[in-house]
Amino acid sequence: MQTDLLSEARRQAEICNACRYCEGYCAVFPALHRERAFSDGNLTQFANLCHNCRGCYYACQYTAPHEFDLNLPKALAELRQHSWKTHAWPRRFADLFDRSGMLISVGLIVCFGLFFALVQGMRPESGAGFYAYMSHGLMVAIFLPAFLLPLLTIAISLRGFWRTVGGADLRLGDLWSALKSAGRMKNLEGGHGDGCNFEDEDRFSHARRHFHQAVLYGFLLCFASTSTGTVLHYVFSMQAPYGIFSLPKLLGVPGGILLCVGTLGLAGLKLRADSELGAPKAWGGEMAFVLLLFTVAATGLILYAATGTPWVNWLLPIHLGSVLTLFLLTPYSKMAHGFYRMAALTQEAGAMRRADSTQAHMSLGKEERR
């Protein structure tokens, strides 16, 4: 299976390297054109640099029915999905990627059941807000390991990935350049700044880029909200619930709204896009992941709105259950893509830096060409 994916990606990359028309679209092509032959590590790196903007597919002279049958976005999407499985840790969990849609559903039900039972069975004597339903200590006891363990496994996976793609010295400058690229989703801008092709064949639009950034920044705001809450709790001994003009709420409410808008937008685009230009088998899992993120954000907002009503009895387990599912499945779901993407962008920044310093030949040949 893996050799098939790699050899198909290699076959296509070799055609791309002889053509080079797509050079301006994204980071994949300059990286590809630096090589003459492609190692498995090169191909894995290209796969994780590819943002599936599809610009190259619609511009390609060699897509089916042409006998070269190029579909680079698909070849790289399938290899990308596979590379996450290859680097998953522990190894025996690798197949979870193929079932992440089902896993998310089951996870939601189990986690919801767990919290519902806890809320019913271990209701604290005292406490305000959510803590009236579940003690702070119990929440921390569940969520701290559920947050840290996945991060640990991701870190182990990334170390393996870094080795595979031939990552050399890690410099802060490279990381900064990767952050800048991800921060504005440069690779979905299309080189000309008109955006990417996704939901309407070869029409360029910023829809996917904007919705993705709503999700990214929404998630980061929610994360910041939780972090500030933790600081308020432990450092300033200020306990939840917090008022609307507190940091956790000022960050969390806009974050939750952005996440809702972004996830719904992405789900809508995904329904309209051609699934044959991605990894078709991963479609269900990706969609489930987007909807899980939506559930986390929406239940969080509704929960806030329902403060003080009996609905909290139900809403709190749903919200905490979805958050726990998200955390636990981070290393084995689409959530992992962010970590691999950052690693690939960092590696590419380093490779560019090294290539600049050894500016090679290669101005041969193609000049008077039509």
């Binding site: 070799e14 080189g191 290669m362």
Partner: protein, 464 residues
């Protein structure tokens, strides 16, 4: 067709760059326009799909172009490659108008990028399309559609009915039916005839059956033949075409840019009898790859074989198909179907004729030459002796033909001594009106854009 057959102001025959420029220009002038594209949608755009740049005059930095490129310099470049066989009046018109075309192209959705890797020498003269010609074609179809231009794919025009000096009817087949439409104006922009290898063979002799066609299989010259058969004025020599030497393993049609091979200057090239036949080091490859199309066409079987050794493998752009590899010259000959002893003799003679190679420089005319051998190799002549050895086959790849419709400065066709009142032509189908032979990179797109816009403007004015 949404409307009745008599309601179109303009029918454009063809669906590439020139056709789209004509359709867009006419639609903007208010003409109700129908494009009849013979290819299915994935193959729409004719040879424009395979293009990638636009040669453009400019008096100062313009879009992606640096410095300036004057009308006279542009014309001089053109005269050099065509050996003076150029209609100077129309060439100057194309060159002068190219400057206003570039912003027009951008306004209509085309996006440019800095020169591609390996093409830096063109940064001043040629504007490259981001994503290549197919992305340009996509952008124009989007623009045309927004302007209300209708497009029929797999609509093969079979005949233009001519009554006196007016086209009265356009016949075509679509979805298995014969259909007709009677527009006020017609623009023909359906390319040359190179995909009709029988026609090529009539012009070239049977050798043409072995040629590869670099571009679309849909340029079969059906409309061109129909019009010439009715006495529409013709221009160009039927044996003239833009032909280059490409990888012999390329597909028969539509191989496009990736089938190019840049290794000839570092090689010896032999025919199927393992004999050398031309100076492989005459000039840098970009200036010579076009003549090799004809050189290979003149060899038995219309095939050449390039032989290099290990030290040259990384000196040229990667090829789409890997080279044939062998540890000895004899083994390579076996694999390539060449007589091994003869290849050994040819190679030994060549190697013995090589002299001091210390001045070898892969990107410049280095004067590292052979002595006492015919034909000589006058640059980059290094012995081919370091295993493994690598081989490629070379075949003639035809880009487009020059026989076409003769037009005037208004892109209008003529019959006898008078203009056809409602027929214009643009793109490769009339490029012979400007170029007699030879080719200048990016000039085909210039002709298509300039004359497509002129044809669209004139056709719309006539309809109104």
């Amino acid at each position: 067709m949404k409307a009745g057959p008599d309601t179109y102001d303009l029918v454009v025959v063809g669906g590439g760059n020139a056709a789209l420029c004509a359709a867009i220009t006419a639609a903007e002038a208010g003409a109700r326009t129908l494009i009849l594209e013979t290819a299915p949608k994935p193959y729409r755009g004719g040879n424009s799909r395979h293009t990638r740049n636009f040669r453009c005059m400019h008096s100062g930095p313009l879009g992606p172009l640096t410095e300036s490129y004057s009308e006279d310099e542009y014309l001089a470049d053109l005269m050099k490659v065509t050996d003076g066989k150029t209609d100077e009046h129309l060439a100057r018109l194309a060159i002068r108008t190219s400057e206003e075309c570039l912003p027009w192209m951008e306004q209509h959705g085309v996006r440019f990028q800095p020169s591609l890797s390996g093409t830096l020498s063109l940064a001043r003269t040629n504007a490259f399309f981001l994503g290549g010609g197919k992305s340009l074609v996509n952008a124009y179809y989007r623009t045309a559609s927004a302007l209300g231009v209708e497009v029929l794919y797999e609509a093969a025009v079979t005949h233009l009915e001519l009554e006196g000096d007016t086209v009265t009817r356009v016949d075509f087949t679509h979805e298995g039916d014969r259909k007709s439409v009677s527009p006020k104006s017609v623009v023909v922009a359906s390319g040359g005839f190179q995909a009709d290898t029988d026609w090529l063979a009539r012009a070239w002799g049977p050798a043409a059956k072995n040629f590869l066609i670099r571009g679309t299989p849909y340029n079969r010259g059906i409309v061109l033949a129909d019009l010439l058969g009715q006495g529409i004025a013709q221009v160009g020599d039927p044996t003239q075409c833009h032909a280059v030497a490409i990888d012999g393993r390329a597909p028969k049609f539509d191989g496009g840019i990736v089938t190019r091979l840049d290794c000839v200057p570092f090689s010896i090239v032999v025919n199927k009898n393992a004999e050398r036949f031309y100076d492989e080091g005459e000039d840098v490859w970009p200036k010579r790859y076009a003549i090799w199309g004809r050189l290979v066409a003149a060899q038995p079987g219309q095939v050449g074989h390039v032989i290099i050794d290990a030290k040259s493998l990384d000196l040229f752009m990667p090829s789409v198909f890997p080279p044939i590899r062998a540890d000895s010259v004899e083994e390579l000959a076996e694999k390539m179907g060449l007589p091994p002893e003869k290849l050994r003799l040819t190679l030994d003679a060549f190697n013995a004729a090589c002299g001091d190679t210390s001045g070898f420089h892969p990107t410049e005319l280095d004067g590292v030459t052979t002595s006492g051998i015919s034909p000589p190799k006058t640059n980059w002549a290094r012995p081919i002796c370091e295993p493994p050895f690598y081989g490629y086959s070379l075949r003639t790849g035809v880009t487009f033909t020059y026989l076409g419709l003769k037009v005037n400065e208004r892109a209008q066709c003529s019959i006898g001594d008078r203009a056809v009142t409602n027929l214009w032509a643009a793109g490769e189908t009339m490029a012979g009106s400007i170029l007699g032979q030879g080719y200048l990179a990016g000039f085909g797109m210039t002709i298509g854009t300039v004359f497509g816009r002129i044809a669209g403007r004139e056709a719309a004015a006539h309809a109104n």
